[in-house]
C-alpha cells in the first residue's frame, strides 16, 4: 500500500485540490498515522460500500472532494460502481487490486485471470478500466504500485476532473506466486517488467491476460455533466425561481 499512499500524497500536492475539503472513504483500514500525516478526514467503513458512503458525503456537502479507496470494488462494490458511473457522481475511486483477498489464503478476486492465484480460478475476470468506462466514468487509468510518477500524475489529473474517475492500481498480494516474505521487491519488479504503457488505449483491449503484458496508462478522459449538475438543471427547469440549488443554502437551518 505504501507506494500508493506516497503517490496519492504527491498527487494531491500536484493537483489544485484544497486539502481541507478532502475526505477519504475506504474499506481498507489505513495506518492512522499515515492518514494524520496526509491531513484529511477519513472514514473506514463496511467492505465495498465506500462509493455509496461517499455519495452521501458529496450530496450532504457538495464542496467536499471525495476519494474512495476500495479493495472489494468489483464484488461487494460492483453495483455502486456501475450506478455511480451512470450518475457521474463526482468522486475519485482508487481500486487497489491485489487479485486476492489478503486475509483469506488464495481466494481469488473477480479480477484474477486463470492461473494467477494459488488456488487458481476458472472464471472470466473483470477488466476494471473497461467496466468503469462502460458505466460512464469520465476518467480511467491503470498503473502498478511501482509506476510512482505515472500514478501520481494520474491521481492529480483525476482529482482535477469533475466527475466519476476510476484508477486501478495493481498492488502485491501475499498469495500471488510468492511467499509472503519475498513479496516486496521481487513482485513489484515482476509487475514492472511485465507491463507496457499505452495511454488512450481502447479499454476493450486492456484485459489482464496471463503470459501477456499488463497494459497500463490513462485510458479514458472525457467531459460530462455531473450528478449535481443534472440534478440542479432538472429541478430549476421545473421549478424556476422557487428552486434552491442543490447543496446551496439548503433549507435555511
Amino acid at each position: 500500500m505504501n507506494p500508493i499512499i506516497t503517490a496519492f500524497a504527491n498527487g494531491i500536492k500536484k493537483s489544485g485540490v484544497e486539502l481541507s475539503n478532502m475526505v477519504l472513504v475506504s474499506d481498507i483500514p489505513f495506518e492512522p498515522e499515515i492518514i494524520k500525516e496526509l491531513g484529511v478526514d477519513f472514514f473506514h467503513i463496511t467492505r465495498g460500500r465506500a462509493i455509496a458512503f461517499g455519495t452521501g458525503l458529496k450530496l450532504g456537502n457538495p464542496d467536499l472532494k471525495i476519494v474512495a479507496f476500495i479493495g472489494d470494488l468489483m464484488t461487494l462494490g460492483g453495483n455502486h460502481l456501475v450506478h455511480s458511473g451512470r450518475r457521474n457522481m463526482e468522486m475519485l475511486v482508487i481500486c487497489v487490486n491485489n487479485f486476492v483477498y489478503r486475509e483469506i489464503a488464495g481466494t481469488p478476486a473477480p479480477s484474477v485471470s486463470p492461473g494467477f492465484s494459488a488456488f487458481s480460478t476458472f472464471e472470466k475476470p473483470f477488466n476494471a478500466p473497461h467496466l468503469a468506462n462502460s458505466c460512464g466514468a469520465v476518467f480511467t487509468a491503470r498503473w502498478t504500485a511501482l509506476h510512482t510518477n505515472d500514478l501520481t500524475n494520474s491521481i492529480a489529473n483525476a482529482l482535477d476532473k469533475r466527475g466519476f474517475s476510476v484508477i486501478e492500481v495493481l498492488s502485491p498480494g501475499p498469495n500471488f506466486y510468492k511467499d509472503i516474505n519475498q513479496i516486496d521487491s521481487e513482485l513489484l519488479d515482476f509487475y514492472y517488467k511485465n507491463s507496457v504503457t499505452k495511454n488512450n488505449e481502447d479499454t476493450r483491449n486492456v484485459e489482464i491476460t496471463p503470459g501477456e503484458k499488463i497494459i497500463t496508462g490513462e485510458f479514458t478522459d472525457k467531459e460530462k455533466p455531473t450528478f449535481i449538475d443534472t440534478y440542479n438543471a432538472q429541478l430549476s427547469k421545473i421549478l424556476g425561481d422557487k428552486f434552491i440549488p442543490h447543496g446551496g443554502q439548503s433549507g435555511g437551518d
Binding site: V23, I35, V40, T46, R49, G60, G251
Partner: protein, 403 residues
C-alpha cells in the same frame, strides 16, 4: 437554530401515515433522504420529492437499500439530518449498515413500513414481523431505539421524537411503521414551528486539533463535528479508541462497545414512552403497539361493556422494552393479552418480564389482518377464566380465519 417556515406545514391536514412521516421529518429538520423504492413505503418518496424543492432538501434514489443507508450515514456526518425509508426486504438489506451506524455513532432515522414476510411476503398487507429484527438483526451487540406509531398523527409526532433521540444519543433510530398506518388517512395537526421541540446536534467546540470523535461526555455520548470543517478526524467501523483509531484488543472492545450500549441502557427510563389506561384496578391488561391499536381499543371497550376490568398499555417505544413496567403490572394483574400481526415476537418480551407472575395470552393476527376485535375479546375472556398461573405463553386459538 433557524427554522425554515416552509418546512413546517402548520395547520390541520388530512394525511396518510407515509405523508405525515415526511412532514414530521421536515419539521424535525431532516434535509436528506436516500432510498430505494419499495411498497408500501413508496409514497413517502413521492411526498418528499413534491415538497423537497421548497424545503431545500436533497433526495437520491440509490441502487439498493444497502447503499441507501450508507449514503444516509455519510450525509449525516456533513451535518444534515438524514433518513431512509424502506419495507421488510429492504430492511433486511440494511442490517449491515444499521451496525455501522451504531458503531460510528451516527444520528439518522430509518423507517421500516412493515409488510408481511418472510421474504417477499405480501407487500400490500400490514405486518409486525420485523420487531425482533430491528432489535437483533445486525451482528454484534447493540441497543436500538424504535418507535411504533399507530396513526398518521403519531407518525408525525414520533418522527420528530425519532430525530431528537438520534441526535441526543448519536445513534440510528428506527420507526416501525406498517402498511396499515402508512396508508391510513386521518386528520393530522401540525403545530407552529416554534412549538416543536428540536434537539440540536451536540457539537464539539474546542480547538480543531483537539477533536476526538469518540471522546465521551459523562452520559457516554460523544460530540460531533461536521466533516469538511477542518477537524481532520479518523473514523472506523473496527473497534476503536477515542481517536477513532482501530485497536484490536479485548480491552478496547469493552472500552468501545460498553458505552455504546450503556448510553442507551442508562437512559431507558427517559426514552421509554407508553400510554397506560385503566390499569389501576385491572384484572387483564392488553399490551399492544402500532397497527393493532385500533382492534385493541375496540376490544377493550367491548370487554368493559361486558363488565370485565381491562386496562391497556400501548407501547410507543417498543425498544428499549419497558421491562420494569411489565414486571410491576405482572404483580398486580391476572393476565396480559398481547395482540400482534405476527406469530409471536413482543409477546415473548412480555412473558420474560412477567417472571411467571401473570398469565400471558397471545393473539396472533398472522392471517386475520388488523381488525379482528372478536379474537381479542375472546382472548380476554380466556385470560380471565384461566385460573392457575401457566408457564410460557398461552396461545389463543382463533375461531376465524385459520387454515
Amino acid at each position: 437554530m433557524k427554522t425554515n417556515l416552509k418546512a413546517v406545514l402548520t395547520g390541520t391536514h388530512t394525511l396518510s401515515g407515509n405523508e405525515a412521516f415526511i412532514e414530521g421529518a421536515f419539521a424535525a429538520g431532516c434535509r436528506f433522504l436516500a432510498a430505494y423504492p419499495i411498497m408500501p413505503a413508496i409514497e413517502t418518496i413521492e411526498r418528499y420529492l413534491k415538497r423537497s424543492a421548497e424545503v431545500g432538501a436533497t433526495f437520491i434514489q440509490m441502487e439498493d437499500e444497502i447503499s441507501a443507508l450508507a449514503a444516509v450515514i455519510g450525509a449525516s456526518w456533513t451535518g444534515k439530518k438524514s433518513m431512509t425509508v424502506t419495507s421488510g426486504p429492504g430492511f433486511s438489506n440494511m442490517m449491515e449498515h444499521l451496525g455501522l451506524g451504531v458503531m460510528l455513532e451516527t444520528p439518522c432515522v430509518i423507517v421500516d413500513v412493515q409488510q408481511s414476510g418472510p421474504s417477499l411476503g405480501i407487500p400490500t398487507r400490514a405486518g409486525q414481523g420485523d420487531m425482533m429484527q430491528a432489535r437483533w438483526g445486525s451482528h454484534g451487540d447493540y441497543e436500538v431505539i424504535t418507535l411504533s406509531p399507530s396513526s398518521p398523527q403519531e407518525m408525525f409526532d414520533f418522527t420528530i421524537k425519532a430525530f431528537n433521540f438520534s441526535e441526543k444519543y448519536r445513534t440510528p433510530v428506527i420507526i416501525m411503521s406498517d402498511e396499515y398506518v402508512a396508508h391510513k388517512k386521518e386528520k393530522v395537526i401540525i403545530p407552529r414551528a416554534d412549538e416543536i421541540k428540536i434537539t440540536p446536534r451536540r457539537y464539539f467546540k474546542g480547538q480543531k486539533d483537539k477533536y476526538l470523535p469518540f471522546k465521551r461526555d459523562k452520559d457516554f455520548v460523544p460530540r460531533m463535528v461536521d466533516i469538511g470543517d477542518g477537524y481532520k478526524f479518523h473514523v472506523t467501523g473496527l473497534t476503536h479508541d477515542d481517536k477513532g483509531y482501530p485497536i484490536m484488543l479485548e480491552e478496547c472492545q469493552e472500552y468501545n462497545v460498553h458505552p455504546i450500549l450503556w448510553k442507551i441502557r442508562n437512559d431507558t427510563e427517559k426514552i421509554i414512552e407508553f400510554q397506560e389506561i385503566g390499569t389501576k384496578d385491572a384484572e387483564i391488561v392488553i399490551v399492544y403497539y402500532g397497527a393493532t391499536s385500533g382492534a385493541a381499543s375496540k376490544a377493550i371497550k367491548q370487554a368493559r361493556d361486558l363488565g370485565i376490568k381491562v386496562g391497556s398499555l400501548k407501547l410507543d417505544t417498543v425498544w428499549p422494552f419497558p421491562d420494569k413496567k411489565i414486571t410491576e403490572l405482572a404483580e398486580k394483574v391476572k393476565a396480559f393479552v398481547v395482540p400482534e400481526i405476527n406469530y409471536g415476537q413482543i409477546v415473548s418480551e412480555v412473558e420474560r418480564c412477567s417472571y411467571g407472575n401473570a398469565n400471558v395470552v397471545f393473539v396472533s393476527h398472522g392471517e386475520n389482518g388488523i381488525d379482528n376485535t372478536e379474537d381479542i375479546v375472546s382472548a380476554i375472556k380466556l385470560a380471565l377464566n384461566e385460573e392457575k398461573i401457566k408457564k410460557g405463553i398461552i396461545e389463543y386459538q382463533s375461531q376465524t380465519g385459520r387454515v
